[in-house]
């Protein structure tokens, strides 16, 4: 099909789809008034029965904990898939040689950027750990904090320290952490079967609302997801950085 014919067909279909969707919007609940009992019940259950102050984290790791198990495994498989895809063609030389070459070529970034990147790594790591462990209390949780922690690596990279990136990222350690995070979540899910009545049963004492260990398994799962997300995102990002190193060497 020619590009023109496809555009005409596409625009026609988009107009039809748009009309149907706008029609469907008329049947949605009134904006500002959520329908159904869960909007009211879920925060009450989390606060009164699970002693979790942050209802969103509570739902993610308790009421919908089984879904999050699947989500966690999706992330695990995606990190694996991206790594396998990007490592397939290592005929282009080794990453170590490419990193050493990049190092010799000297920094391509301004000194101010390098200094700022180095200064921000520490606070970013601290903020990431804070967000992971306080998931049950304040906005945040394992997913958000994990991405922050992986972002610290990206800061090192943005600061032009490509060789340092290769050093602070021992691949085997990241891979093991990725697997450990996924395994820890699965084991806590199965602990419900062993010590409780069902998979994902919240078997730990709920503690006092507002304390760091409130919510039973919620903070435990939050930390497990934090480890998994940090390792998974680090693995994905660093595989892309490797590709770019190989590429910049080839083009010179």
């Amino acid at each position: 099909m020619s590009a023109r014919a496809r555009l005409v067909l596409g625009l026609g279909s988009l107009a039809g789809l748009g009309a149907l969707l706008v029609w469907a919007v008329g049947g949605l609940p009134d904006f500002g008034h959520p329908r159904g009992p869960y909007a009211d019940l879920a925060p009450r259950i989390m606060l009164d029965e699970r002693h979790v102050a942050n209802a969103v984290t509570g739902i993610t790791f308790d009421l919908r904990g089984f879904d999050t198990l699947g989500e966690e495994l999706i992330l695990f498989v995606a990190a694996l898939g991206a790594a396998v895809l990007l490592r397939a063609l290592r005929t282009e030389g080794t990453i170590e040689a490419a990193a050493a070459y990049e190092e010799r070529r000297g920094p391509g970034t301004a000194d101010a950027l390098r200094a700022l990147g180095a200064v921000l790594v520490g606070p970013t790591l601290l903020l990431g750990i804070y967000v992971v462990v306080h998931g049950a209390l304040t906005p945040g949780g394992g997913f958000q904090g994990g991405v922050l922690l992986a972002g610290a690596l990206l800061l090192v990279y943005a600061a032009g320290q490509v060789a340092a990136v290769e050093r602070v990222r021992p691949v085997s350690l990241v891979e093991v952490a990725d697997a450990l995070g996924a395994a820890a979540y699965t084991l806590v899910a199965l602990a419900g079967l062993v010590f409780g009545v069902a998979v994902m049963d919240n078997v730990l004492p709920y503690g006092t609302t507002g304390s760091l260990l409130s919510g039973g398994t919620v903070p435990v799962l939050s930390v497990a997801v934090g480890v998994e997300v940090t390792a998974g995102v680090t693995l994905i990002l660093s595989e892309f950085v490797d590709q770019m190193l190989l590429r910049s060497r080839r083009e010179d």
Binding site: G10, A53, V56, T60, L85, L86
Partner: protein, 112 residues
């Protein structure tokens, strides 16, 4: 009401980008725009007029809050989108290496 229409608009704009895309990275990002419409839709359905954030760290326990269930769903949505984009971009890198082009039209024929 406007938020629902924003979701529709994001879906259509992203789909238009996918249809007319001439570069695989552009195509993947347009897919991200399409998925962003689901975030807007989910959060709009859960919005409550005058509702606070569903976090009882510093508000009285009987304060009306917005629906936290759809917010948790949105969190899942964002994570799935990030993983899908990562794998698609990895495939894009491989496609460019193998065929020397990132134009989806030039990748018409499947080759082993």
């Amino acid at each position: 009401m406007l938020a629902y229409l924003v979701a529709v608009w994001l879906l259509l704009a992203g789909l238009y980008g996918v249809i007319t895309s001439r570069h695989l990275v552009h195509l993947v990002l347009c897919l991200g725009v399409m998925q962003a419409s689901t975030y807007v839709l989910l959060l709009a359905i859960g919005w409550r007029d005058g509702g606070a954030a569903p976090i009882y760290a510093d508000i009285p326990p009987n304060t009306p809050v917005v629906d936290p269930v759809v917010q948790a769903l949105t969190l899942t949505d964002v994570v799935v989108e990030a993983t899908v984009v990562a794998v698609l971009l990895a495939l894009t890198v491989q496609a460019h290496k193998r065929f020397g082009t990132s134009d989806p039209d030039a990748l018409g024929a499947l080759r082993g």
